[in-house]
């Protein structure tokens, strides 16, 4: 281990001291820079792991629907905390209505985004102005909650009784309404808009006829006027009783409130009351997962383009591709090491003419781009019948790692003293004996370096693996991972987990052996 060079301790005068401070500052800056670089480099790892623990929805973004429809939320606001239907939380009700209308306003196709804010205010104003009206009307509906009142109106099954009760009550109510209308409508209510057309249903029963009149009055009063009078309240009250009479059951008070609110908002927005609030949750790409979905890892081991849960065939899954990659890489490493050691031995330890040229010949391999040999290697492999086998990848990988392996081995083998060779020879070892008994045991450090270099070449290699192997039976990990992003699967969480699983071994091996790896690189690079 090299000593730390303490340049800064060189105190040689004032000029040097100033530059010392400058150096201290630069040192701090460089530290900061290093930390930034560290963060940048750790980022993909962090991203991969968080990705693997998120749910599919969180990764893609999804439309989140509230559990309740808007109307149910308003109901809840009305009911408030006490659960007592009569104890109405008016403020929350008001807010709920305003919110609902704001949402509705946002969907108004005629408005540009800028005008939305203005429109929201407008609607809010309308609601506030008429809020007291609504409140009052609803208060009067409260009368319906009075059980006794309901009992008075006998809604028994007998139609005759009903008819009598209806007609009697209705006549009375209708008279009341007429009186109110006559006395107030003409005078006090300013007609702003046109009265809605009277629904013509002359061919229906008297009940319905009365209803249409009542509905007419109701609509006329509440959609045309901007002011509310006590009489309107009474009309409202009467109306509600009318409606109630016309039905064979007690009208759900909530339905009336809902109807009033709906009318407030307008026809196309009325439908929105029955739909839940939806919002589009943006995909969470970078943040931490909101919940840890560990099950993604389990599915990841099973996922693959060809995963069939019912099939007993365990092929074509991530785990399987992992094994294939392992087989291919291990075999390539073994072959490379053997071939490299043997060739290096021949070129460095044995004396013959032309061994230096042979070395240069092998070094040519460093400059040949691996992908350029695709078509011929494909032809060769196909003639040998080796396409879609393990050899299809092992042989090319070993061949392309050979040059560097020889380079590294030459460096390491040069360290072994020749005396050992001679000693072994004197002991009676032949060439092969020296090789296996002396050289190979001493080349263990090189094994690590060559092994790691070859491993890097093989494990993540994509192009050859895609083209030479088409059967899932022999597919390697990078191709499997690449195919995960094809058209057929959208399980992002397990994909992330699969990516993590694919990367984990390399990282573990690296971290565990980092000392050795770095030492190997240092030795190899220096000697190379």
């Amino acid at each position: 281990m090299t000593k730390k060079i303490k340049v800064k301790e060189n105190k040689l005068g004032l000029r040097q001291e100033l530059s010392v401070t400058k150096r201290k500052v630069t040192r701090v800056l460089i530290h900061i820079l290093l930390w930034i670089l560290v963060l940048i480099n750790i980022f993909p790892l962090y991203w991969m792991i968080t990705f693997s623990l998120k749910s599919n929805d969180e990764i893609q973004g999804y439309k989140k629907s509230a559990d309740k429809t808007r109307w149910e939320e308003i109901e809840e606001a009305i009911v408030g905390v006490t659960g007592n239907a009569t104890d109405i939380a008016w403020d929350s009700f008001e807010r709920a209505i305003i919110n609902t209308s704001n949402t509705a306003a946002r969907k108004d196709p005629a408005l540009s985004p800028k005008d939305h804010a203005a429109r929201e205010e407008e609607i809010a104003d309308i609601i506030r102005t008429n809020w007291s009206n609504i409140k009052d009307s609803i208060s009067s509906i409260e009368g319906i909650f009075d059980e006794d009142r309901i009992k008075d109106i006998d809604m028994s099954n007998s139609d005759d009784v009903k008819a009598v009760a209806h007609s009697e009550q209705m006549t009375a109510i209708y008279a009341e309404i007429e009186e109110i209308i006559n006395s107030t409508v003409a005078k006090e209510i300013p007609v702003v808009k046109e009265a809605p057309a009277k629904t013509d249903s002359s061919d229906e029963t008297a009940d319905v006829g009365a209803q249409s009149d009542a509905a007419y009055v109701y609509n006329f009063v509440f959609s045309t006027s901007d002011r509310v009078t006590n009489d309107q309240k009474r009309i409202m009250k009467a109306m509600s009783r009318l409606y109630q009479l016309q039905n064979s059951e007690v009208q759900d008070p909530w339905e009336s409130i809902k109807a009033s609110v709906g009318n407030m908002m307008g026809d196309d927005m009325k439908d929105m009351l029955d739909q839940p609030e939806t919002e589009y949750v943006q995909p969470n790409h970078v943040g931490l997962p909101s919940e840890l979905h560990w099950e993604n890892y389990e599915s990841a081991l099973k996922i693959g383009k060809y995963y069939d849960p019912d099939s007993s065939v365990k092929r074509n899954t991530m785990a399987y591709y992992f094994l294939n990659s392992l087989v291919v890489s291990a075999s390539a490493i073994v072959i490379t090491i053997m071939a490299a050691f043997m060739a290096t031995y021949a070129m460095t330890r044995l004396v013959w003419k032309g061994r230096k040229t042979m070395n240069k010949f092998f070094m040519l391999g460093l400059t040949i781009p691996i992908h350029a040999a695709i078509v011929p290697v494909y032809m060769i492999l196909s003639r040998l019948g080796w396409l879609n086998t393990y050899q299809a990848l092992i042989i090319p990988y070993a061949a392309f790692s050979l040059a560097m392996a020889i380079l590294i081995s030459v460096g390491f083998m040069g360290d072994i003293p020749y005396d050992l060779d001679e000693a072994a020879f004197l002991d009676g070892c032949g060439i092969w004996g020296i090789f296996f008994r002396v050289i190979v045991p001493l080349m263990m450090p090189a094994v690590a370096t060559v092994g790691i270099y070859t491993f890097l070449q093989c494990w993540n290699e994509l192009l050859f693996a895609t083209i030479f192997v088409s059967d899932g039976k022999f597919r390697t990990l990078p191709v499997g991972v690449q195919q995960l992003f094809g058209q057929y699967t959208t399980d992002w969480g397990p994909i992330g987990a699969a990516l993590s699983i694919a990367t984990l071994p390399t990282l573990i091996v690296y971290i565990a052996l980092s000392k050795k790896i770095q030492a190997g690189f240092i030795a190899g690079a220096v000697k190379g």
């Binding site: 383009k305 069939d308 074509n316």
Partner: protein
């Protein structure tokens, strides 16, 4: 005693004679791309079981992944001993090359038994003139797909449209309304060139008519047509007017499709294989076709697509006539199960209960049944090299790097009329 022995021997001989008449099941080898997660897998499995029982054959079949299957089958063609009896193929030039090389058994005779169940037009894409005596069929279609215009009716309603526009002017008006309402009309993945062809080919077809386009793809007519240039310019006009999601330039198709299903676009034009997914998604979706651009040359009912997935019989098969018969029966069965499962549209006329089919799939099947002309997808109709040159030019179209005139001029020279 002797008599008894003789009787027993005679009985045994008789028994062995009868077993001779009970034939051992023949073995037929087959290759396909219906791997375990392919949508068609269940259809294949069911069909094969049915045919094995019906014909007393044993079908030894293997499935391979789509992209690598192409290389694999081409390699097998070179070494005919490894070719299976029945193999999956795409119609158009893919099979055509094999047929012209003499590796595929002609199905003209075997078809006769199935002529009512399979309309002749469905064999059009896999019919080739190999020996100069006219085009003959060489492959059995399975299910088919067409380019469909999916529409989100809720979004259209927001813009004030109740139905999908059927004329070009209406479409433009509808797009304008959508844009005014803040809705993006079309979603297209510009980074996947085949998705761009899903828009471009219908536009071209609706401008020049299906017969001309078929001839151009077949290489018998030149690309030099001013109408094609107009079609491309119209497409780019729509892009420049903002009718297409600008993000589409770098999005992939799966993202675009997910966006459409989530309600971001009003329209999405892509293959009918998406029907199942769209049908099951939340929302009110409908299917339609692209409107007519030039009423003199094209009609609304002309579609892009058609039978492509097919089964072919190797010329080296033992007893090819029998294998061809089995292939037809297999094709019919696969189509039957596939349609019911919603993995494609029926090329064979359904003679079974179709009520279980998903509504959107049935709607498209209806469109197909009433179609007035079909053009197979360009990248399937042409063989590898010209198809990819064509795709190269198309990819320039979406990014507006080349205009209609440039497109036509380039393709006229790059893909000249075959001699």
């Amino acid at each position: 005693m002797k008599k008894l022995v003789a009787l027993v021997v005679a009985a045994i001989m008789l028994l062995s004679l009868t077993s001779v008449f009970a034939e051992a099941p023949k073995t037929i080898t087959m290759w396909c791309i219906a791997t375990e997660s392919d949508a068609n897998r269940p259809a294949y499995e069911a069909a094969i079981a049915e045919i094995e029982a019906q014909y007393n054959v044993k079908i030894e079949w293997e499935a391979f992944e789509n992209q690598s299957y192409k290389t694999k089958i081409k390699a097998a063609m070179a070494d005919a001993s490894t070719l299976p009896d029945i193999f999956f193929t795409w119609a158009g030039a893919f099979c055509g090359d094999f047929a012209k090389a003499g590796n595929v058994y002609c199905l003209e005779d075997a078809y006769k038994a199935y002529a009512d169940a399979l309309p002749a037009v469905m064999l059009q894409n896999a019919s080739y003139d190999v020996d100069g005596n006219g085009a003959k069929p060489y492959a059995v279609p399975l299910t088919m797909n067409i380019v469909t215009l999916f529409a989100n009716m809720d979004l259209l309603k927001q813009a004030g449209w109740d139905a999908v526009p059927t004329t070009y002017d209406d479409l433009i008006a509808c797009c304008d309304d959508l844009v005014a309402a803040g809705i993006i009309p079309f979603g297209c993945s510009g980074s996947e060139t085949w998705c761009v062809t899903e828009y471009l080919e219908p536009i071209i077809e609706k401008t020049i008519g299906y017969e001309k386009l078929n001839k151009i793809f077949a290489g018998t007519e030149s690309w030099d047509d001013a109408d094609i240039a107009t079609a491309v310019d119209t497409f780019q006009y729509m892009i420049n007017k903002g009718y297409f999601d600008p993000d589409g330039l770098s999005l992939g198709n799966d993202q675009v499709k997910a966006n459409f299903i989530a309600g971001k676009y009003a329209f999405y034009q892509n293959g009918s294989w998406n029907c199942g997914e769209v049908n099951d998604a939340e929302g009110n979706f409908q299917v339609a076709l692209f409107p007519v651009m030039n009423a003199e040359k094209a009609t609304y009912g002309q579609v892009i697509g058609g039978p492509s997935d097919s089964l072919a019989v190797a010329a080296t098969a033992e007893d090819p006539a029998f294998v061809a018969d089995v292939a037809f029966a297999l094709g019919k069965a696969i189509c039957h199960y596939g349609y019911l499962a919603g993995s494609g549209l029926p090329a064979w006329t359904p003679d079974y209960d179709t009520s279980a089919v998903k509504p959107l799939v049935a709607a498209v099947a209806d469109i197909v049944a009433n179609s007035e002309g079909m053009v197979l997808f360009g990248d399937t109709a042409m063989s590898a090299d010209p198809a990819n040159i064509y795709l190269d030019y198309v990819s320039k179209v979406y990014g507006c790097a080349i205009d209609g005139a440039g497109f036509v001029a380039g393709l006229t020279e790059a893909l000249p009329v075959a001699e």
